[in-house]
């Protein structure tokens, strides 16, 4: 069972979360071209290694988080709020970025 260090709740089992998708995707403007949208919605890299992905703490604080995970070992190296504003506030409060924190449960 993967355990995710939710920035708001602490270490929680992955069964409290739902998987979102590739967090590296930058969704285009709503009026962007069909090609840009097809690329964002359908084209994915099948990464063998570290990838950034979104998870929803749906049975917890209901926050979306960005998890940096090794797809081979499931090792998680960082968990950050997906919301940019909240991320900045949290970093200001704790004085460090969440990727610096010790990830060992």
């Amino acid at each position: 069972m993967i355990r995710i260090n939710c920035p708001f709740c602490g270490f929680r089992d992955h069964s409290e979360f739902t998987y979102g998708g590739d967090a590296s995707i930058v969704f285009p403007d709503l009026d962007a071209s069909s090609e840009a949208w097809i690329d964002a919605v359908f084209h994915r890299d099948n990464i063998d290694g570290v990838q950034r992905e979104t998870w929803h703490h749906v049975h917890g604080c209901r926050m979306w988080v960005v998890v940096t995970r090794d797809t081979v070992t499931h090792e998680i190296s960082a968990v950050e709020p997906a919301h940019q504003g909240i991320k900045l506030v949290l970093e200001a409060m704790t004085g460090l970025s969440s990727s610096d924190e010790d990830q060992q449960p």
């Binding site: 069972m1 993967i2 355990r3 089992d13 739902t18 979102g20 967090a23 969704f27 403007d29 709503l30 009026d31 962007a32 071209s33 069909s34 840009a36 949208w37 097809i38 964002a40 919605v41 359908f42 979104t54 929803h56 749906v58 209901r62 926050m63 979306w64 499931h74 998680i76 709020p81 997906a82 919301h83 940019q84 504003g85 909240i86 010790d102 060992q104 449960p105």
Partner: protein, 996 residues
């Protein structure tokens, strides 16, 4: 073999006599016995029958690796199949019987299969019944379908009761610093060392008693005093608990057997408890399992591992035979021979090695044990018991039959396999250790270490030392958070004084013997060679073709032998063949324990609206829609479903009907940018929705397909109330959160699910306004001018209850949806119903709701199935041409705009008296070609039109089928009905009633 109880010794309680039943016979054992030890003490040797050949099988081990003594425990709904008699504790009143045999395990008619053994070799099923490609490609399966049930009856193990499990199970969670698995010398030392460092230690032991090997080798300290000592160190000890799997991030699955050993467990106790434990470090002191050897008839009752023979004597006070041959490839069996000799057995010892140091040989020979070097078992004579052992001598390169010995049991030690299964679960590949002839754990940087025999350490002193090391490693890994890596550590005096001989099979060249490798699945040495000859090179393929290692023991006894034979056949070394991966669980886990309390309604909880009891009290018949219980219909005395819903729909259209719509999803959307947010997610314009107005909206997914629909009401400048469909409420909420947090962090919007906060009541029909008027002080509030179609108002009822009302309609009639705080639901419903009754109104349920919406061609989840676009659903005009919204770009993909896509239509039967079914296929031709031309999503009898109607999708929509014959085809119920394709808006297409 005829086992018997010796007069003294063992860890059994001779004062506590236990009565149990074996195949209907009443037998006695003692407290501390396992079922296997009690059966042996009673002289029962044949206790099972094998999987394919129905060969008689006896007790083969004294532990979890047991492959012979598999029995069915309990009766009727309590019956539990494939229980290992070697681990089942005896209790008073235990009922057990043999399995896979008729009429009994002693005399089994199925054993004729043994005569046809050459036809039942590896791959038998595939070759015979699956068809031989390419000639019989696809044709063989027909024969398989026919024969399968006969074969399945003849082959197999115990049977499930097929009755619901009467026992209770629990799930529990826990944390600790260090988990130690196993309570033998290494585990005990590791736990104490870690606890000394101030760590919170959990020690789990699958056995009922602590001690591991000590229970067999050194019974001087009682398990009870071990427990007291460990607990005095603050160690949390769990016996009867198996660590069956290790998962990502060091999450460990434990199965605790709470009452499997109790005669009459208290009802408050669960049968088993499933623990999810999250330790910070794991010490595996899981020991090693003694290996068998492959030789002729090595599965006969009376053949068991050497350690098992010693365990039955020293722990259970049972001597397994009077004339015993101990056969070994290593030093470990010498002590077995000595112990059995002292207990009064006549013991012969065969050592496959030609040279052994005199220190060892003197020990046995000085007490008169008959020792033969360079000797090994070759074949056994005797069917249901061992009568004679043929013995082979080695000349250094091959084995040749030399002499034979009369005996009643054969105790075998073919070496030891460290239990590294749990590391295998983490993907750690085992590494072959040539000197010890076994697999050891490979490197890993997870916080796991291995101690004792599990690490290939064979001496007790070495095990204790390695346990202490492991405890210290755990402490430094946790406290210093040091980068840790598991790698072999060398421990002095950890191995035997004489090297093991790597021997797996004894046979004479060119002679075929019935030598078993995997006992449970009847896989023989010849099967392994046959698989090799037929080209199965990969060990994973060998496993699947022969089923080696795929029985309930998971290959604990046979895998290494199978690999060794495969390597020999291929002319390779074992490391070059590779090893199969052990997967969880280590020992079987009951399905009941996995599900815990999550069964029936606890697995799939009911959701009830706050009006639930009110609905029931007013005669509602309920129906499950997803998790929700909703009123289906409200029958009057003697009324059927069809009569009731037609009456309800008719009454609603002509006077007024009330319906509980509480289950709709409700989301509060608040913030300065709420309008902008809604404008982006809905296809139609929301930017300029006036305060006090509602609007019907549709959301698409990114790919342009419809996700959900509902109405959203503007309450204030910055406050909106959104409703969703019942089915998609949770999905829409998660989607809005995703958009706001991952894509549009700049939008100042907050969403809150308020589904449970509000009760909702639809008041529909021409008299609906009158019903509301009767319940408010100021009727002007309700007038058509002050409260027009799509208006939203906060209104006080006469008794002061505040309601949030929108004039919106799903039925197509003049209608309102009244929302009140959930707890006020029944009260307000009662008020409205009291008035509605006076207007001849009715309560209506989901069935009538369906009728009303089908008549209007309104879509629901049945139509919006995740494949349908706005145009498909005849909602094309809901897409604003003046703005971009989620899905707008991809909804214009050419494939989604094709004219021949299935489009929403209404359906009438050509013969207006005819009926037809939802789920039917629509087709133009007389026979269905591929998937037909369309499908029907919903049908109903329309009281308004006086005949059956339906809605569905057909290729090209209504225009493509004008003046063409169309049939509703239901191949399952063999019903073809000619239909007419009409507009989906079948009643009041211009919406006159809405605005009335």
């Amino acid at each position: 073999m005829t086992g018997r109880r010796v007069s003294t010794g063992g860890l059994i309680d001779r004062e506590r006599s236990l009565e149990f039943s074996w195949n209907g016979e009443r037998l006695e054992g003692f407290g501390g016995d396992t079922l296997a030890s009690a059966l042996l003490a009673n002289g029962k040797s044949v206790v099972g029958r094998s999987f394919k050949y129905h060969r008689p099988r006896g007790v083969m081990s004294a532990g979890v690796e047991e492959s012979g003594a598999l029995v069915t425990l309990g009766r009727a709904e309590w019956s539990d199949a494939n229980v290992r008699a070697t681990t089942q504790e005896l209790y008073d009143g235990l009922v057990a019987k043999g399995q896979n045999a008729w009429p009994s395990v002693e005399f089994d008619l199925g054993s004729v299969n043994n005569l046809f053994g050459r036809f039942l070799a590896a791959g038998f099923y595939y070759k015979t019944f699956m068809g031989i490609p390419p000639l019989e490609w696809g044709t063989g399966t027909g024969a398989w379908m026919w024969y399968e049930k006969f074969i399945r009856k003849a082959a197999g193990m115990g049977r499930a009761s097929r009755l619901p499990d009467p026992d209770k199970y629990e799930h529990a969670h826990d944390y600790c610093d260090v988990l130690v698995v196993g309570s033998g010398p290494a585990g005990e030392a590791a736990a104490i060392a870690a606890a000394d460092k101030g760590l919170d230690v959990v020690l789990v032991e699958q056995d009922s008693m602590l001690g591991g090997d000590n229970l067999v080798v050194d019974t001087s300290q009682s398990p009870v005093s071990r427990l007291a000592h460990l607990e005095s160190q603050g160690i949390r000890v769990m016996t009867r608990t198996t660590a069956f799997g290790i998962y990502d991030n060091l999450v460990v699955g434990l199965l605790e057997r709470i009452s499997d050993h109790l005669t009459d467990p208290p009802t408050y106790l669960p049968r088993q408890r499933f623990w999810t434990l999250r330790p910070r470090f794991i010490v595996l002191a899981t020991g090693a399992i003694e290996r068998h050897l492959a030789f002729g008839n090595n599965d006969r009752p009376g053949v068991m591992t050497a350690m098992a023979g010693r365990a039955y004597l020293n722990r259970f006070g049972v001597l397994v035979g009077d004339k015993v041959v101990v056969a070994t490839t290593n030093d470990s069996a010498y002590e077995v021979a000595v112990d059995l000799h002292h207990a009064g057995a006549v013991v012969s010892l065969l050592d496959a090695r030609a040279q052994v140091s005199s220190i060892l040989t003197d020990v046995v020979q000085s007490i008169g044990i008959d020792l033969h070097l360079a000797s090994a078992p070759l074949d056994i004579k005797g069917r249901r018991a061992v009568r004679r052992l043929l013995i082979a001598k080695s000349d250094g390169s091959s084995w040749r039959q030399a002499f034979s010995k009369e005996c009643d049991s054969v105790l075998v030690s073919g070496g030891w396999s460290p239990v590294i299964n749990l590391l295998s679960h983490r993907g750690v590949r085992p590494i072959w250790h040539r000197d010890n002839a076994c697999f050891l754990a490979g490197p890993t940087d997870e916080f796991i270490t291995v101690a004792g025999a599990a690490a290939g350490i064979w001496t007790k002193a070495g095990c204790i030392k390695s346990g202490e090391n492991a405890g210290n490693i755990a402490s430094s890994a946790i406290n210093e958070k040091s980068l840790y890596k598991l790698s072999p550590t060398s421990i002095e005096n950890s191995s035997w004084s004489n090297p093991i001989m790597p021997l797996y099979e004894i046979r004479e060249s060119n002679k075929k013997l019935k030598s078993f490798v995997d006992f449970q699945h009847d896989v023989s040495a010849e099967d392994v060679r046959l698989a090799h000859r037929e080209g199965y090179i990969s060990v994973e393929h060998l496993k699947r073709y022969t089923t080696l290692g795929m029985a309930t023991d998971g290959g604990k006894m046979g895998n290494v032998i199978g690999l060794a034979l495969m390597a020999e056949a291929a002319g390779k070394e074992i490391p070059d063949i590779g090893a199969t991966v052990f997967r969880p669980p280590y020992t079987p886990v009951s399905i009941g324990a996995l599900s815990g309390r999550s069964t029936g309604k606890y697995f799939r909880p009911l959701r009830r609206t706050s009006l639930h009891n009110w609905n029931i009290a007013h005669g509602a018949v309920m129906v499950e829609t997803g998790l929700w219980q909703r009123p289906w219909y409200y029958p009057q005395p003697g009324e059927t479903l069809s009569e009731a819903y037609v009456r309800e729909a008719e009454t609603t259209r002509h006077s007024v009907g009330l319906c509980d719509v509480t289950s709709l999803g409700k989301i509060s959307v608040q913030g300065p940018d709420a309008s902008e947010f809604l404008n982006r997610i809905y296809t139609n314009p929301f930017a300029k929705l006036p305060i006090g107005k509602a609007r019907y909206g549709i959301m698409l997914r990114d790919d342009g397909v419809v996700m959900d629909d509902g109405t959203t009401w503007r309450l204030t400048e910055t406050d909106y109330f959104m409703t969703t469909t019942t089915a998609h409420a949770a999905q829409v909420m998660a989607w809005l959160e995703e958009l706001l947090q991952t894509r549009w962090s700049d939008l100042r919007v907050h969403v809150t699910s308020v589904s449970d906060a509000w009760a909702g009541i639809a008041v529909a029909g021409p008299q609906s306004r009158a019903v509301l008027e009767s319940n408010v002080d100021n009727t002007e509030d309700i007038s058509n001018e002050n409260f027009p179609f799509m208006g939203v108002r906060e209104i006080l009822l006469k008794d002061g209850t505040q309601c949030r009302i929108a004039r919106i309609s799903f039925s197509g009639e003049l209608a309102y949806e009244v929302y009140v705080p959930a707890d006020f639901g029944p009260h307000v419903m009662e008020k409205l119903w009291t008035t509605a009754k006076n207007f001849g109104g009715c309560l209506y349920g989901l069935e009538a709701l369906g009728t009303l919406r089908i008549e209007k061609g309104h879509v629901t989840g049945a139509e919006l199935d995740g494949r349908v676009t706005l145009e498909d659903a005849a909602l094309g005009k809901m897409a604003s041409p003046n703005k971009s919204f989620i899905g707008s770009t991809l909804s214009r993909r050419s494939e989604l705009l094709r004219e021949d896509r299935p489009q929403l239509v209404g359906i009438f039967p050509k013969d207006r008296m005819a009926t037809f079914n939802a789920g039917s296929i629509l087709k133009g031709a007389t026979s269905v070609v591929e998937c037909g031309d369309g499908w029907i999503t919903a049908v109903t009898h329309s009281p308004e039109l006086g005949h059956w109607i339906g809605i569905g999708f057909i290729s090209g929509g209504r225009r493509a089928w004008l003046d063409k014959q169309v049939f509703s085809s239901d191949p399952v119920r063999n019903m073809d009905v000619e239909v007419e394709i009409v507009s989906p808006h079948m009643v009041d297409p211009d919406g006159v009633r809405l605005h009335g």
